[in-house]
């Protein structure tokens, strides 16, 4: 098995790597240090390893690295950082859509791909777009809510260019946020 040189542009950084023919894009990315790309199953069933390959969401475990030669790849960490999170990442954090967080990078990538082509998706469209991303913690409800919130915030950003993204990003978590699907009753509360 000979090694071949391939070029990958990941999150704007260009890499030249020497890989064998059967190296998956997942392995190549993780070996390069992009460990936000998660390995959950290696057979394309869980979606934790999703990345944007030339703008399309793909499971990186199902692509050979050589097939991505010359391609632009964006991982979740390429969308935003702790200091400057992407509005989708921010929405996931605000909506309570993150529990263990292992599916989150793939979920964010699938959300980005969805909202790039459909800025105002219905619940059914959101569910369909995330159907290849497994989550074992949340039951998906708060994730759906996060996608809705992402779409809303991204639409606000594009409709009012005056409000910059960084201002949006620094807004503290709202205490008045309405629970995604729930209601809360305290003892003695009126229970109509």
């Amino acid at each position: 098995m000979g090694l071949a040189a391939i070029h990958l542009t990941v999150n704007g950084r260009r890499h030249e790597v020497f890989l064998s023919a059967n190296t998956t894009l997942l392995t190549a990315l993780r070996d390069l240090g992009y460990t936000d790309v998660k390995n959950g199953c290696e057979i394309g069933e869980c979606g934790a390893c999703a990345v944007l390959l030339n703008g399309e969401a793909v499971n990186s475990c199902m692509a050979l690295a050589r097939q991505a030669d010359g391609a632009e790849i964006v991982t979740n960490a390429g969308l935003g950082t702790m200091q400057d999170p992407h509005p989708i990442q921010e929405a996931f954090a605000d909506a309570g859509a993150i529990q263990c967080g292992f599916c989150t990078p793939g979920m964010v990538i699938s959300t980005k791909a969805l909202l790039d082509r459909n800025p105002d998706p219905t619940e059914a469209e959101i569910r369909e777009a995330l159907s290849g991303n497994l989550c074992r913690c949340t039951g998906y409800g708060q994730i759906i809510e996060a996608v809705r919130l992402s779409a809303e915030r991204l639409r606000d950003l594009t409709s009012s260019p005056a409000s910059s993204q960084s201002e949006e990003g620094q807004e503290p978590a709202s205490e008045k946020r309405v629970l995604a699907s729930g209601e809360q009753e305290k003892a003695g509360g009126d229970s109509k």
Binding site: T35, D36, K38, N39, G40, C41, I43, E45, C46, A48, N76, A77, L79, G80, T81, M82, P85, H86, Q89, E90, A93, A95, G96, I98, Q99, C100, G101, F102, C103, T104, P105, R127, L130, S131, G132, N133, L134, C135, R136, C137, T138, G139, Y140, G141, Q142, I144, P172, E175, R177, L179, A180, S181, G182, E183, Q184, E185, K186, A187, G188, S191
Partner: protein, 789 residues
């Protein structure tokens, strides 16, 4: 079930708080959102080796040959170990975490099989090599010869005489007997006796993050293990297996990508410890998904029979419950899972005359251990399906039958333990039923059904384990707060909850609190993230530590402001006079005032759970748990009688969580737990045939996706009566328990028939319908013959 009105809630005093009770963004959320959180499999070390495990392909066999010489000679292989090399080391699988209890059930599995393998997937040898590929190649070079032994594949068979003995002397892994009241008299008093049997399958945890870790030996000779685990206190069991002092093993837990009980067992860490000690080099081991299915614990299959005596109005006069559980090839936590199921066998109902007889036996199949609920969900599938069967037998509304039997505060469980907190069974049930709204109409081929379940579930560990948790809280010079606590965060918000509590008590915003967690050597040990215990245990420890620091701050502020201590409150990073908030001192200035007088601004606290002695060996009577959480789920399903497909149309879940420390996190627990329960009922079954795994991947073992079920409507109740901080009860495990029996009852309502075993696959639905048609045809023929004669 006709229209249901929510039962009004009793009065309770819940003070409005600043940090607690708010759906704040969790402290761990942003790091996870942007991919900055580093998980166990993401770590690498200089000069690191990669490990792989050789696993048994036979369910029961003598190892006639295990020749590793070719593997050892492969270039790039640093180490190959077999059962001989680990000198018969055992896993202390049955008592994880810190506990004052020394006596163990003795249910040890070997670290590596020696002479005999007992299940497909049992570890037989380890390889550490320069690359993953070389390690895999070396595994393939190991020569094995098996001599197959007769296997046993059901616990019932294991208990027959002549069965292969997997657990000395008689295959009884554990057995319990509860004797409360007078069973015979109770049965004699009954108008009707209802007897039904219910069965549950093996279930896989299927968390997204495979088990993994990296270990190395540090400059002091201490074995360090970085691993995703629910139990950092496993360092003690690992030290025992290695034969080294307990202070020579250190576990540094990572953020856990889901655990649900399976990361309560020792997984990769024991292999890593042996390999790094042997090679002197860092070693990494991460399981593949296929290995997850073969090598880690499953939920226990149970068969549960309820024989219940009832009056015509639904009151239960006597109950006899029998349970048989499959422990798989090794006991692991089976003795305690069975105890949980046994102690919760009667459900949240007052049953004065009850016997419970339960037994667990081994099979040559995947071992079973903890899984969210720990036997509670299986018990609930017994008692809640039985409640509906009783309603059907008496032609009563299912809610009516439950109303006739609900426990009240002060009533006792089947082990005689009095429940001291609020019991909001009917409050929960009426709310979920109300939430379903108008009933969807049937079509000629699609039958609509509705069902609900009322369950209870303990939180906190078994009280004779002498459970404790510790936390350290300190205020920095700039008024920020540091929390040190050995709590493993398995994704449910364990870290965040205790940060919100510290923020509340010390009067700072949540973002001013930083937590350092999950290191067995440098963070105060907080016990396991299991048994729905962390909010209760570590929440109370953090409350104690924060309150101690607060008291000192308040004392100094009172002197500074010239008022009594009772007039001072802390909020928004300042201490102020409650009657005149314009008189205040900033927290950072208060810290300097304290420092100048040598007033200690940190505190280490230990919270002890109530300690009890255990159950009476004759009657099984006594206290088992600190407290219980009560909840309910209702669902509406559509059953297609032609295809056997079941569609979940609506789902509502309601739990009394005492006090929601973070309502968004509580909603996540309830929605997520419910979803797992729905999967349990409708989709999930880990299938073994003659001990061979038939569902080895996520392509065969299906878990719910985003398109399988609608979102659950979550209703959070707060009685304020729990034994956790601010009156909180635990919700992690209780969230799952009612969902599966609610589905079972809805499907029975739709079909007018009950399917005996979970999950309700289309095939099983059609078979059940067909069997019932045959039965009614036979009945009709019978009746006709009778008429003719």
């Amino acid at each position: 079930m006709s229209k249901v009105t929510p039962k009004p809630l009793p009065k309770a005093d819940l003070p409005e708080l600043k940090q607690v009770g708010k759906p704040l963004r969790r402290v761990d959320a942003l790091g996870k959102a942007v991919g900055a959180t580093v998980y166990a499999a993401d770590f690498t070390m200089p000069n690191m080796l990669h490990a792989k495990v050789l696993r048994s392909s036979r369910p029961h066999a003598r190892i006639a040959k295990l020749d590793v010489s070719m593997a050892r000679e492969l270039p790039g292989v640093a180490c190959v170990m077999t059962g001989e090399d680990v000198k018969g080391a055992k896993l202390n699988t049955d008592l994880p975490g810190q506990t004052g209890r020394e006596a163990r059930a003795g249910s040890d599995a070997p670290v590596l099989a020696l002479d005999v393998v007992r299940y497909v997937g049992e570890p037989m040898a380890l390889v550490a090599a320069e690359t993953v590929e070389i390690a895999e190649q070396a595994i393939r070079l190991i020569e094995i010869e098996y001599e197959d032994l007769p296997g046993v594949f059901t616990p019932e068979d294991a208990l027959k005489s002549g069965a292969p003995i997997l657990f000395e002397p008689d295959n009884v892994v554990s057995r319990y007997a509860i004797r409360k009241g007078d069973l015979e008299a109770g049965m004699a008093e009954a108008d009707v006796i209802v007897e039904r049997t219910f069965k549950m399958p093996f279930v896989e945890h299927a968390y997204l993050e495979p088990d993994g870790g990296v270990a190395w030996v540090d400059e002091q000779g201490v074995i360090n293990i970085r691993v995703c685990t629910q139990v950092i206190e496993h360092f003690r069991s690992i030290a025992r297996a290695l034969g080294v002092p307990q202070n020579r093993v250190r576990i540094r837990g990572t953020m856990v990508g889901g655990g649900f009980g399976s990361k309560e067992d020792i997984t990769v860490e024991i292999f890593l410890a042996f390999l790094t000690r042997d090679t002197g080099r860092p070693v990494k081991l991460v399981y593949t998904r296929e290995e997850q299915f073969a090598a880690t614990a499953k939920r226990h299959p149970f068969t549960i029979t309820h024989k219940t005596g009832v009056k015509k109005d639904g009151r239960i006069t006597a109950s006899h419950v029998t349970m048989t559980a499959d422990s798989g090839a090794y006991p692991y936590l089976t003795p305690y899972v069975l105890l949980y199921a046994t102690g919760m066998a009667a459900g949240p109902y007052k049953v004065d005359n009850i016997h419970v007889d339960s037994v667990a036996a081994p099979t040559n199949q995947s071992f079973t251990s903890a899984f969210r609920g720990f036997g509670g969900p299986q018990a609930a599938l017994g008692y809640e399906q039985q409640m509906d069967e009783i309603a059907k037998a008496l032609d009563l509304d299912p809610l009516e039958v439950r109303r006739a039997n609900y426990m009240q505060t002060g009533d006792t469980t089947c082990t005689g333990q009095a429940v001291t907190s609020a019991i909001w069974t009917e409050e929960c049930a009426t709310r979920v039923l109300h939430a379903l709204g108008e009933r969807t109409p049937d079509t000629p081929t699609v039958k609509i059904g509705r069902g609900f379940a009322n369950t209870f579930q303990s939180y906190g560990r078994i009280t004779w384990f002498h459970d404790t948790s510790r936390a350290w809280v300190g205020v920095e010079q700039d008024g920020t707060v540091v929390l040190r606590c050995g709590v493993p965060d398995i994704g449910a918000g364990q870290s965040n909850s205790i940060c919100q509590i510290a923020a509340e008590i010390l009067g700072v915003p949540l973002e001013r609190v930083t937590i350092y967690a999950t290191d067995s050597a440098v963070t105060p040990l907080a016990g396991t993230s299991t048994a729905t215990r962390q909010l209760y245990m570590s929440g109370n420890a953090v409350t104690m530590a924060s309150t101690a620091v607060r008291t000192r701050l308040v004392g100094r502020a009172a002197r500074e402001l010239g008022v009594s201590e009772g007039e001072i409150d802390l909020s928004d990073s300042r201490a102020f006079v409650t009657s005149d908030p314009s008189r205040f001192v900033e927290l950072k200035d208060l810290v300097h005032l304290c420092a100048a007088e040598g007033i200690e601004l940190s505190h280490l606290a230990q919270f002890n759970a109530p300690f009890t002695d255990g159950l009476d060996p004759e009657t099984g009577q006594g206290d088992i748990w600190p407290d219980f959480t009560f909840g309910a789920v209702a669902v509406e399903v559509a059953v297609d009688t032609e295809t056997g497909q079941i569609e979940l149309l609506r789902c509502a879940a309601c739990h009394d969580v005492g006090r929601a420390i973070n309502p968004a996190a509580v909603e996540g627990q309830i929605a997520g737990g419910t979803h797992q329960g729905l999967g349990y009922a409708l989709m999930e079954e880990f299938v073994l045939e003659d001990g061979q795994i038939k569902t080895p991947s996520l392509a065969e073992y299906l878990i719910p996706t985003s398109v399988d079920f609608p979102s659950t409507k979550v209703i959070i109740l707060e009685s304020g009566t729990g034994v956790g901080p601010f009156g909180a009860k635990g919700i992690g495990e209780p969230a799952l328990t009612p969902a599966a029996p609610a589905v079972a009852n809805a499907v029975a309502d739709a079909l007018g028939l009950r399917i005996e075993s979970l999950p309700y696959t289309p095939k099983k639905v059609l078979e059940t319908i067909e069997r019932s048609k045959q039965a009614s045809r036979q009945d009709a023929e019978h009746a006709k013959k009778k008429q003719d004669t």
